[in-house]
């Protein structure tokens, strides 16, 4: 996603080892979470993650549309990741593109790995992720928002799914890349973790890394996911605290 204005490569890592926004290599961007941000959805969450703004909504279990996708032994999980036209520097044409379809597929499959879909045969659990403002890492922010929206909708799952991307910036492994680091960095590796089992249900990678760098990245990513997991649980507790009024 090239920015029109950015012509030269910025200094991504200072001599003191600090990144373009002053973070350490293993530091996350600030994250704020609002569970239950929407009125109509059965479950919803709004996540602001650095300069990303992502809304997720869950509808269901409900009737399956289109009908032929219905399964007799479990719920189908349908995930749609979409980006607003104004979410990026250069206006994105509205509608489905190949990138969104791929992301929808891998996120949907990540959730299929943790949702007890067999509890709801012949139904659909529909997950909608809308990226309103993008600054690298939108699939992870979307996954975190969707995971909380599922919990908000009361869908039984093995666990929440924290997610984060690890990348390589100026030759160093770094947690949670922002846009400049993503555009000019050497690698990007988004992942989603099932904290209980320590297994990954989403993993993608693009760029160049050695075997050792990859191992270090996985370790850093899992550590980042565990940090995000705590924030997710805190946001859910806040939403469902006694006296908070509960779901809308």
């Amino acid at each position: 996603m090239g920015s029109v204005g950015a012509k030269e490569i910025p200094v991504l890592l200072s001599p003191e080892g600090l990144r373009i926004d002053g973070r350490r290599l293993d530091e996350l961007r600030p994250i704020t979470i609002h569970v239950g941000a929407l009125k109509n959805a059965d479950g919803s969450a709004f996540v602001e993650w650095g300069a990303n703004k992502v809304m997720a909504a869950v509808y269901g279990p409900r009737e399956v549309h289109p009908r032929h996708l219905q399964q007799n032994n479990k719920a189908v999980i349908q995930c749609k990741y979409n980006m607003a036209a104004f979410a990026v520097d250069e206006r994105k044409r509205p509608g489905l593109d190949r990138r969104s379809q791929e992301i929808s597929k891998v996120i949907g499959e990540a959730f299929e790995s943790v949702v007890f879909a067999e509890e709801y045969p012949r139904t659909s659990i529909d997950i909608y992720i809308e990226v309103l403002q993008a600054n690298a890492g939108t699939r992870c922010a979307g996954l975190v928002a969707a995971s909380l929206a599922l919990a908000d909708a009361g869908i039984p799952m093995v666990d929440l799914l924290p997610a984060v991307a690890v990348g390589k910036v100026a030759g160093k492994i770094a947690l949670d890349l922002k846009k400049e680091e993503d555009n000019f960095g050497e690698a990007d590796l988004p992942m989603a973790l099932v904290p209980q089992s320590g297994r990954l249900v989403l993993l993608q990678m693009e760029g160049h890394m050695t075997e050792d760098e990859l191992a270090a990245s996985l370790e850093l990513g899992v550590q980042g996911c565990r940090e995000i997991y705590e924030k997710m649980k805190a946001a859910l507790r806040e939403r469902y605290a006694l006296g908070a009024g509960g779901p809308a």
């Binding site: 703004k53 979409n82 104004f86 909608y128 309103l132 993008a134």
Partner: protein
């Protein structure tokens, strides 16, 4: 209970209440739900605003790009309005190509912006016949609890007021400058519930209604656009009545364009 049966019962209840001048959420026939405008919600856009009317939320973002004027209007820039009724916003929307409802919202919002001469398109022309700004107004419906048209137009105009022309970024001028907004149209939608005509319908009131009518007014006392929708009819006296009410509501909401709530 099936969705159809519960909708039917709710419709009867809404109509019974309306006959006594009452509404399900306790409002009077001429009261809006709380309206809030949050400008600059999205920093990747050249202008933006998140507008809520009750539980309805629409996020509008402006993008300006250099392009070519249309051959029949060589001295004018281009403005296009698009509304996305994404399935996130309501259990009744399904993914897929734009439904007639979304197209109607886009077109009614577009018409009000255009007819009110909200933005002077000739000011968006850079070189006649060759280069002009293309201004995209994208409205993203986040939560649909009725009255999308009013919410979307208020979001769109607030986003235009908030917009900056990225002239420096595209090498067209030495500095970015605020987009010139000359007029401020506000749309006001009513539905008929039996003999009562109520303003700012909720989703359930729209479904229960016998006709919907939208009136767009501007700050210099012009009616700039109208749209009758859904099944139902209005008498000329009804229309005169809603136009008068639309001016009053328009004036009140116009104070919100730079942010705030009423």
């Amino acid at each position: 209970m099936s969705e159809e049966v519960s909708a039917e019962i709710l419709t009867t209840h809404i109509l019974d209440l309306a006959a006594e001048g009452k509404r399900l959420d306790g409002r009077g026939p001429d009261a809006y739900r709380p309206v809030t405008v949050e400008p600059g919600f999205v920093t990747t856009a050249d202008g933006s605003a998140l507008v809520r009317i009750g539980d309805t939320a629409v996020l509008s973002g402006i993008k300006l790009e250099p392009g070519k004027p249309f051959p029949d209007t060589p001295n004018a820039g281009v403005l296009t309005t698009n509304a996305e009724l994404i399935p996130l916003s309501s259990p009744t929307f399904e993914p897929g190509p734009p439904q007639p409802g979304a197209i109607e919202v886009s077109r009614v919002v577009d018409r009000a912006i255009r007819a009110a001469e909200t933005v002077d398109l000739t000011r968006l022309c850079v070189t006649p016949g060759e280069k002009s700004w293309v201004c995209y107004v994208d409205c993203h419906v986040l939560d649909h609890s009725g009255n999308l048209i009013d919410t979307a137009l208020l979001a769109a105009v607030s986003a235009l007021v908030n917009a900056t022309v990225p002239a420096k970024r595209f090498g067209i001028a030495d500095a970015d400058y605020p987009l010139e907004v000359n007029h401020f149209p506000i749309e006001c939608t009513f539905v008929r519930l039996g003999d009562t005509i109520v303003v700012d319908p909720t989703f359930d009131e729209e479904r229960a209604s016998q006709g919907r009518i939208t009136v767009a007014t501007d700050e210099v006392g012009r009616v700039v656009a109208m749209q009758k929708g859904l099944v139902g009819a209005f008498s000329p006296d009804d229309v005169k009545d809603v136009v008068r009410r639309a001016f009053k509501h328009g004036e009140r909401q116009r104070t919100l364009l730079k942010g705030g709530h009423v």
